[in-house]
């Protein structure tokens, strides 16, 4: 495919097919395969731009990027309340879409919710679509604890079960993200009908990575969607073994300081071995209906 390079940012990505809606939301509760998806899409669409620093080349950052918000708004987010920041976020994303030379892939851990004045935080009028990545909550719990650098699984279960669970905000390096909890996150994105959503299970990505990547490419209307050889190459380049080796050699920028390794296990089923029966039951009690909808066994 033809790679496009923006003169200012040096990003490489896919040309935008709908100039007025340049943002693709890669949305998930944390530790559900979001980074892996960005790596897969990079290896599929713009492999020549991948570096050993970020492992990805598609344009775009995270919805909670404080520095980008400050640049676009002209205001210091560190002097604004989290609620004031939310009021400005729809405009921030519209500005990103308006300024984009290529399609932008934005990682999102926020649930789909209101910005505070009746407008959705993620405006449909700048959105090309959303890929919703979901993973069994038992495995999310184990991975999320590792990401936070501890093994207090009771605490993690409380976070997944808490509709008021937030990430960052205040003095933190990223803007506040209201996840709405694991169940609330899933339902909020599935119940909205403003932005088209493709739902992808992490477990299906593990079982048939090429098939799921093809589905994503078709959803995004990428020219590579019909090229099985390119998809196979992208899958091979994005294997966990390859990513782990790369992280061992170069490190990985998104790895939290408290975590030994970002690309940890890359498998399904850890939750049953690590969580206690009581912890699994607590997750089931709150999230059972959504787990059943997704075919997740208890």
């Amino acid at each position: 495919m033809r790679a496009v390079t923006g003169p200012d940012r040096g990003d490489i990505g896919v040309p935008h097919s709908r100039p007025d809606r340049n943002l693709v939301w890669l949305t998930s509760f944390p530790k559900s395969g979001n980074t892996w998806t960005r790596v897969l899409l990079s290896n599929l669409t713009a492999r020549e731009g991948i570096d050993n620093d970020r492992f990805v080349s598609i344009a775009g950052s995270i919805s909670s990027n404080r520095a980008a918000f400050d640049q676009a708004s002209g205001l210091p987010s560190s002097d604004l309340t989290d609620d004031e920041i939310d009021l400005l976020r729809p405009g921030f994303y519209r500005a990103q879409s308006r300024d984009a030379l290529v399609r932008i892939f934005v990682k999102v851990h926020d649930g789909y919710h209101d910005s505070g004045n009746g407008e959705p935080l993620f405006p449909a009028d700048c959105s090309a679509g959303a890929i919703y990545l979901v993973r069994h909550p038992f495995d999310v719990a184990v991975s999320y604890a590792n990401h936070q650098g501890h093994t207090d699984y009771d605490r993690i279960v409380r976070q997944l079960n808490d509709p008021a669970h937030i990430m960052a905000g205040g003095s933190k390096a990223q803007l506040r993200q209201r996840t709405l909890g694991w169940r609330g996150h899933y339902l909020s994105w599935q119940r909205q009908d403003e932005i088209p959503v493709l739902t992808v299970r992490y477990e299906d990505m593990l079982a048939d990575t090429a098939g799921e990547l093809r589905r994503m490419a078709q959803f995004l209307d990428l020219p590579e969607a019909g090229d099985d050889a390119l998809i196979a190459e992208a899958v091979a380049e994005s294997s966990f073994e390859r990513l782990r080796a790369k992280e061992d050699e170069h490190g990985f920028r998104e790895r939290p300081e408290a975590t030994g390794r970002f690309f940890r296990a890359g498998r399904a089923g850890d939750g049953w071995n690590v969580l206690s029966a009581a912890q699994r039951q607590a997750l089931l009690d709150v999230n059972g209906d959504v787990m059943e909808e997704l075919g997740y066994r208890a």
């Binding site: 404080r66 520095a67 400050d70 640049q71 676009a72 708004s73 002209g74 205001l75 210091p76 987010s77 560190s78 002097d79 604004l80 309340t81 004031e84 009021l87 400005l88 405009g91 921030f92 500005a95 205040g170 003095s171 933190k172 390096a173 990223q174 170069h250 490190g251 990985f252 920028r253 790895r255 939290p256 300081e257 408290a258």
Partner: protein
């Protein structure tokens, strides 16, 4: 050398942050309450909360005050219910930055300490720890110089020297940074309940408002996540240094829109000739903070001896 790059007369209490700038009358800049338009109409540039049109700059704080900055000589503010404290906060932030550009000045997004007449500044993205590091160094005996903004007058730059001015003489620290640095907590930065950011008194402060910018440190937190030696200072030169310097410019989109890219770039090119740019990589874990701060304090104290040896 002047003590401030311009002087200000204001009809509201701007606190002690910019006390050296304030005059009763006859100042370069007048700050006054008045009518502020919703929009400038046909604008040359704009963002989510601001507009630029030639010599006019408009800023709206969500649910709060609005500011009109004109020709580098006047800031008109409209409260929309905002308190003096909130008006002053945003006036001395983004509106102040726009004022600097209108006056041909280059504001850097940096906090700094002062040692033996030389200013050592720390820059990085919002949340990188600029203010926290400057506060911690002042608690370890180095003079606090400025918080958040450091101002350069490009007309004063020479090959050998980069005079600079303090933008803000009060520190703003989050509650966890206050605890970490031991700085003295003062009033809240915002009137909003639950907003845990406070003005703070540095452990040791230099009252002068100007100095010579010796070094600019880009704050990083990479090594600890890549299993490298976690605390390190590295010099950056050439195009990479210019890139880092550009990233340290305060609200660079304002600068591009108001000064113009060529003038801004020319100012940066002159500055880079007189200032050494380095990265300062360190862990952000609280238990490592003492060690990394001591490392930087020693480096700055040794700066004079290093220059003598050179």
């Amino acid at each position: 050398m002047k003590d401030t790059p311009f002087t200000v007369t204001a009809d509201l209490d701007l606190g002690t942050r910019v006390a050296p700038y304030l005059r009763g009358e006859g100042a370069d800049v007048v700050v006054a309450e008045g009518a502020v338009p919703d929009s400038l109409g046909n604008t040359s540039d704009g963002g989510v909360a601001y507009e630029v049109d030639g010599g006019r700059f408009l800023l709206h704080v969500p649910g709060g005050a609005s500011f009109l900055v004109e020709d580098g000589s006047r800031i008109t503010y409209s409260r929309h219910g905002a308190s003096d404290r909130d008006v002053a906060l945003f006036l001395l932030g983004s509106a102040w930055g726009a004022l600097c550009y209108q006056r041909g000045l280059l504001p850097l997004h940096a906090s700094a300490v002062y040692h033996e007449g030389r200013v050592h500044a720390f820059t990085g993205q919002s949340g990188a720890g600029k203010s926290t590091l400057a506060a911690a160094l002042s608690d370890r005996g180095l003079d606090f110089f400025t918080d958040d903004v450091l101002i350069i007058d490009p007309a004063e730059l020479s090959q050998e020297s980069a005079p600079c001015y303090a933008g803000q003489k009060d520190m703003k620290l989050w509650a966890d940074a206050l605890e970490l640095t031991g700085s003295q907590k003062m009033g809240a930065v915002r009137d909003e309940p639950g907003f845990e950011k406070f003005f703070a008194l540095p452990g040791k402060t230099e009252t002068v408002g100007c100095g010579h910018l010796a070094s600019l440190f880009i704050l990083k937190n990479e090594n600890a996540r890549r299993d490298r030696e976690p605390v390190a200072i590295e010099q950056v030169t050439g195009a990479e240094a210019l890139k880092k310097l550009r990233e340290s410019v305060y609200r660079i989109r304002f600068g591009n829109a108001i000064m113009g890219r060529p003038a801004l770039f020319a100012a940066l090119a002159r500055l880079i000739a007189a200032v050494e740019v380095r990265t300062f990589d360190r862990p952000l874990k609280k238990r490592e903070f003492e060690r990394s701060t001591a490392f930087m304090a020693d480096w700055i104290r040794d700066d004079g001896a290093r220059r003598d040896r050179a």
